[in-house]
């Protein structure tokens, strides 16, 4: 795979991300959804029914910027996995469901380069969404009357959300591989649902430290040397999925 071919493929994939509806809708829903839910949680705290405060937990229930940011971190983990999973399933699966995959054969830009470019585009999209989310989250915090955030609050937002979202995006790469081997979007979306649901169930049941899709959120909510090590180890999971996806595209045949 030459550098020129990869550059050409990345340019095409980024252009698709800008022109198509799915990436824009997914970005808008992720940013606005996280902010709306976080702001609603703080509004509920301010309204003050004790049963609501108990359900929101000690940090969110404490209100203020700390509660608002903690709510945002919790929601971002799940919403980010959903949005990134749908996006990556669409990116890979649409080539099969829309019949464009045949046109990606017999080109000087190899299918390996195209698959790699789709992954690059996912992470560029995630980086852009991250920047937007941080800006909207901080602005909305001011608008809902939380007052100026402390340096610690800003540090949590700016330091943890990028790692959380980028690592969460990486955890959804298996959806790309499943979309490829099932020749369509639905296999990837089903994989995303399974990853998301299993991560939630395992965390709520007290496990999760060993389960890669849970690792980004567990680190973001409680950064420590042990959650950091778990997060780093968990990156082997998307690394394996990236290799499987690229190899599948390299060996692809239009035999079904």
């Amino acid at each position: 795979m030459s550098g020129g071919a990869l550059r050409a493929a990345v340019a095409v994939e980024l252009r698709k991300s800008v022109r198509a509806r799915v990436p824009l809708v997914a970005a808008a829903l992720l940013v606005l959804g996280v902010v709306a839910i976080s702001a609603s949680a703080i509004a509920a705290v301010n309204a003050g029914p004790p049963e609501v405060l108990a359900k929101l937990g000690p940090v969110v229930g404490g209100g203020g910027w700390a509660g608002y940011v903690d709510a945002a971190l919790q929601v971002t983990g799940a919403a980010g996995a959903g949005a990134c999973g749908i996006l990556i399933s669409w990116s890979f699966g649409r080539e099969f469901s829309e019949g464009t995959i045949a046109g990606l054969f017999a080109l000087p830009v190899s299918r390996t380069a195209v698959a790699a470019a789709k992954l690059v585009a996912l992470f560029v999209w995630t980086a852009c969404v991250t920047a937007s989310l941080i800006a909207v989250l901080l602005t909305a915090g001011l608008l809902v009357g939380l007052g100026p955030p402390t340096a610690t609050d800003v540090g949590v937002v700016v330091g943890r959300i990028p790692v959380l979202l980028l690592a969460t995006a990486a955890m959804t790469v298996p959806a790309a591989w499943v979309s490829t081997i099932t020749r369509g979007l639905m296999g990837g979306i089903a994989t995303t649902v399974v990853l998301l649901a299993s991560a939630q169930v395992i965390v709520f049941s007290g496990g999760g430290a060993w389960f890669p899709p849970s690792a980004p959120a567990l680190w973001a909510l409680a950064p420590s040397p042990s959650t950091l090590v778990t997060l780093l180890w968990s990156l082997l999971f998307p690394a394996a999925a990236i290799i499987l996806t690229v190899v599948s595209w390299h060996r692809l045949q239009l035999d079904r």
Binding site: A8, A11, A20, G103, A106, L107, P108
Partner: protein
């Protein structure tokens, strides 16, 4: 002498035994070679093998003398094809699709605008240049797909049923473009159900039936349809007799 495309002893079978069997086919430079056959005869399978979309069970495919399985960017940048689905994305405009296709075909950036302009004109897409592809009619989408396959002046062209969806004007534009490609030395493999159209554009016509090449037709010959069905019928009867003898 510029080398064309070739299939040597190519077999590719699918579940149930269908597929193509022991096919030898040469597509010479400067010639339009038409492949005609009934639905399911194996035309698309052969084209897919030639383009690396399917790996043959046995035999080999070559483009410019290079085995397809080891062909690199240098070979593929000289290929243009439209097989199965078009490389057209609904979110791009007509112009955007042609620019995308030029980039993926390895056209250097300074040449892209000129080739895109020419592709638009060659297939009569001027009124739709800034329209998104998703809003085009089926026929205009087919014109766009053909422009995207041919605008980089390929030396090796593979087109599977390219007249599908085209109106008579589009069919003439395609015929002129294909003949011009051949005149410039390209090796062209084209499949079609329309024997009249094939007779106008092809230099050679090969008939395929049940996955095997069974004969040739004279492109300018009279009663092309009759000759085609006579070949297919004779092959069917020969195979039936062979099967009965074997059982």
């Amino acid at each position: 002498m510029v080398q064309g495309m070739a299939l040597s002893g190519v077999s590719r079978t699918f579940a149930g035994g269908v597929g193509v069997h022991g096919v030898d086919l040469d597509i010479d430079a400067g010639q339009v070679h038409a492949l005609v056959g009934l639905n399911g005869a194996g035309k698309s399978t052969l084209m897919k093998v030639l383009l690396g979309m399917l790996r043959p069970t046995s035999g080999s495919a070559r483009i410019a003398g290079v085995p397809v399985r080891s062909a690199g960017a240098g070979v593929w940048s000289r290929v243009g094809h439209l097989v199965e689905g078009p490389l057209v994305y609904g979110e791009f405009t007509v112009r955007g699709n042609l620019e995308m296709s030029a980039a993926l075909h390895g056209v250097p950036r300074p040449r892209r605008a000129e080739l895109v302009d020419r592709g638009v004109v060659e297939f009569g897409l001027q009124p739709y240049t800034h329209r998104r592809a998703r809003s085009l009619s089926f026929g205009n989408k087919q014109r766009l797909a053909l422009a995207a396959a041919l605008h980089h002046d390929p030396d090796f062209v593979v087109l599977d049923e390219p007249t599908t969806g085209l109106d008579p004007a589009g069919t003439i534009l395609l015929r002129e473009r294909v003949r011009r490609c051949a005149g410039e030395g390209a090796a062209i493999l084209i499949s079609s159900h329309h024997l009249d159209e094939v007779s106008r554009v092809a230099d050679r016509i090969t008939v395929i039936n049940e996955g095997r090449l069974i004969g040739r037709l004279e492109p300018r010959g009279a009663e092309l349809e009759q000759a085609f069905f006579a070949l297919v019928l004779a092959d069917d009867e020969r195979r039936r007799a062979g099967e009965e003898a074997a059982s």
